[in-house]
């Protein structure tokens, strides 16, 4: 479970959001919607430790997670808007690199899990390809597999439908639902109301429900 309490982020005098409260229950899919430039991505970056906040608290499964500098967090996996796959590694190595080097999993076990993940995501036999050989939708699924391989408590997506055609959008909706049915807690940042309604249990409207 993710709990955000009284989170405030400012850039100088410019208040991005203040006293933000948000709860995400286990197994739930929550969409955070709102127009671009409103601070949704900033929120996800604070949750994953890529940015700092000015005040507030973030709890993951009851455990407080700092909002200051220099913390590492593999508890929230993130699917970046442009995926940020490592171009110098194959699909398989993109997925196994962190389990092997960070979690010290054996190469064999990591590989087996990666193959299974790719299988469930409909990416069978793609493990030997390099990122540049994949379509946008395929890159996204590799990014999802890469995040899942670290067994995060929550998976967060930053604008998962941007840059995808209708077909790939339907596919990512299917993947989110599939992961939900296997109990993965998911947070989706999107500007696409229709997509949000399609996939989520709950929608948090960043434009209406946030103070500035």
């Amino acid at each position: 479970m993710l709990e955000i309490k009284g989170l405030t982020k400012k850039y100088g005098q410019n208040v991005i959001f203040k006293d933000l409260d948000l709860t995400l229950n286990n197994g739930e899919v929550l969409s955070v919607i709102g127009p671009s430039g409103i601070g949704k991505t900033t929120l996800i970056k604070i949750m994953t430790g890529l940015e700092t906040a000015n005040s507030g608290q973030v709890f993951i499964d009851g455990e407080e997670f700092g909002i200051g500098d220099g913390r590492l967090n593999a508890k929230i996996g993130i699917i970046f808007q442009d995926f940020n796959l490592f171009p110098n590694y194959t699909v398989l190595d993109n997925i196994t690199l962190a389990p092997v080097n960070v979690n010290k999993l054996s190469k064999k076990a990591a590989k087996q899990e990666a193959i299974e993940l790719l299988d469930t995501l409909g990416m069978k036999d793609k493990e030997i390809l390099y990122p540049y050989q994949l379509s946008g939708g395929q890159k996204q699924r590799v990014a999802i597999a890469r995040a899942l391989a670290m067994h995060p408590n929550i998976i967060a997506y930053d604008e998962p439908t941007s840059g995808l055609d209708e077909h790939s959008t339907r596919q990512v909706a299917a993947v989110i639902k599939q992961l939900k049915s296997s109990g993965v807690t998911q947070l989706v940042i999107t500007h696409d109301q229709y997509f949000a309604e399609l996939i989520s249990d709950r929608i948090f409207d960043f434009a209406q429900e946030v103070q500035r």
Binding site: L72, N73, I76, G77, F80, L85, N88, Y89, A98
Partner: protein, 213 residues
């Protein structure tokens, strides 16, 4: 032909120094250059200031002059290096400065998203650098790095100024003794062979790196 056989042993002895300076410089200047390029992004002003000063001096003065200062200059204040060591030291610090600038360019072209992805996955800073950033930097800088290596082959001839017997010195001794240009011709051909070997191996590594984009 007979004359060639006469001058070859001398020139080949010179080749040992040339190749020695070449390989040791490569081995030394690459890690030093990486270190310097990372240091340029240091949060400490003093470190950045020192590194910029070092690069300014190394790129702003002729390598010939640096050789003279390291060999003759340092011996005046009591630091004595044998010729070969002095040559290698001058070349390593000089080439590291140039390579550092090349690495810096490569480092700058790695998107921030790569660091973000690595951080979220839990990689340490050194894992991020060595496993994710450095391989991408190497690919980016390969062509300009190759240029420097070719330059290095020819720059080794500058060691004559401190009396180290490289192939050019061996050639010019034979040329002035026998009043002929043939030794220079032989030396020129040897340089061409060396740069050809460098070119081929660089092309090979570029090809190996082209499996990903």
């Amino acid at each position: 032909m007979k004359y060639l056989m006469e001058i070859l042993p001398g020139i080949l002895t010179g080749l040992q120094s040339t190749l020695g300076v070449f390989f040791i410089t490569l081995l030394g200047s690459i890690p030093l250059g990486i270190l310097v390029s990372v240091g340029m992004k240091s949060p400490y002003f003093t470190i950045r200031w020192l590194i910029n000063g070092y690069i300014w001096i190394m790129r702003g003065t002729p390598l010939l002059l640096q050789l003279i200062f390291i060999y003759y200059g340092l011996s005046m204040i009591g630091i004595n290096f044998p010729r070969f060591e002095a040559a290698v030291l001058a070349f390593v610090v000089n080439y590291a400065a140039y390579l550092a600038e090349i690495f810096r360019g490569g480092l700058q072209s790695i998107p921030k998203g790569q660091y973000d992805a690595a951080k979220v996955l839990g990689f340490s800073r050194s894992q991020t650098f060595f496993k994710i950033v450095l391989p991408q930097v190497i690919k980016i800088i390969m062509p300009s790095f190759g240029n420097e290596v070719i330059n290095l082959v020819k720059d080794t001839s500058l060691v004559y100024v401190i009396g180290l017997g490289d192939i050019l010195r061996a050639g010019s001794i034979a040329a002035s003794r026998d009043v002929t240009l043939i030794p220079y011709l032989v030396v020129g051909i040897l340089y061409l062979i060396m740069t050809a070997a460098v070119t081929v191996s660089l092309r090979r590594s570029e090809k190996r790196l082209s499996i990903w984009r």
